[in-house]
Subunit: 218 residues, 2 copies
């Protein structure tokens, strides 16, 4: 019983700080995405492809979340964008307070798009609001078509699903039609994009949609 | 402060029950594996290939852990082995108590090998002893070669690493030599097998090793 109470308090406190983060994002008209997925689904690769597509035409910043290492921050820093790495030291998800701390080291003035790359985990990050405008979940074709049914909360809380690694479909048993059907069964409002960071398929569509979302905030 | 105390109590209680589970496994000479990985790395496929390889020559039982659905239990039940599904209802890992409950529905008499398939999560299950003889972690080639560095606790706590989906290497940027090097940097004692459930490569080696481990318990 005491655990539940403590957990509830932790979540209430988290939501309070998340609201403050959200206020900050809205004040600066920064479209903020909480990018979530299993380890190795392609979160960092999709950020890289997005940075490459916009090549300085958009003002983008990144917050990287990892259990250990700053490998991802070093990857995206090559694109000359502001990046802050959060190392959770074992914790399985980002919390609003960690993002708040990272924001003290980022200047949001003029930032049109902020990616928060969460820890690779299809369960725990679903429960924590960071103040983002939307959660975007990545499912790669190599993970199979049943993941939305097995990890429903993440797909329920996301606004957009990115199906990544479409270039590998010829070599897999993954039924992409069934993957979409399963995702929409959990969350009929999900917007879905298919893409491959290897051959570039679908990156333009995704970036066009991002531009539309950013334009709404002008 | 109170959170830490509650968490410590939870872990102490978990370890107590895990010890009882372990005693039960040892009494029955049941070699018990806690199979852990990201979602979609191939935990269930590797169990299926193992069942296929031993085709009734070994007495095998399965405990399936999932956040939602009994899809995995239904898959392995096709091989006519005893299987119990644990649905965690949102929890991100199995705990010893859930396994203890599942064991009340399994007869371990004569069972030589028990797979406990954990929730797909490369972070949280690392912290929970279920009473298993060893944790075995799967990393699939599609997840990239940096995962041991980014999720070190899981690779540190595992005794064996199964590198799955080797058939996809020609289509990926994954450097399997680097993946092994990174894994051994975290845990130099890791035993490593490479395999593919699609073309069957490496399944025999893995199963031969399982037989040796089981023979030790006779």
């Amino acid at each position: 019983m005491s655990i539940i109470t403590v957990e509830r308090k932790v979540l209430e406190k988290n939501d309070e700080i998340a609201s403050k983060n959200r206020e900050l994002f809205n004040t600066h008209k920064t479209f903020t995405i909480n990018l979530v997925s299993s380890p190795g689904s392609g979160k960092t690769s999709i950020i890289e492809k997005t940075l490459e597509h916009f090549k300085g035409r958009l003002n983008i910043s990144i917050i990287e979340g990892d259990v250990q290492t700053d490998l991802d921050a070093r990857r995206v820093a090559l694109y000359n964008v502001p990046v802050v790495q959060i190392v959770t030291n074992g914790a399985c998800h980002l919390e609003a307070k960690l993002v708040q701390d990272a924001l003290s080291r980022l200047d949001l003035n003029g930032v049109q798009l902020l990616f928060i790359e969460n820890v690779g985990n299809l369960v725990c990050p679903a429960a924590y609001d960071l103040g983002e405008n939307m959660k975007i979940v990545i499912a790669s074709t190599t993970e199979g078509d049943d993941k939305p049914l097995k990890y429903p909360r993440m797909f329920l809380n996301a606004s957009v699903l990115l199906i990544n690694k479409t270039d590998l479909i010829p070599y897999l048993k993954c039924d992409i039609g069934l993957l979409k059907k399963n995702a929409l069964q959990i969350n009929p409002a999900l917007k879905i994009f298919e893409m491959s960071c290897t051959n570039g398929e679908g990156i333009r569509n995704w970036c066009n949609w991002l531009e539309t979302e950013i334009a709404k905030r002008k």
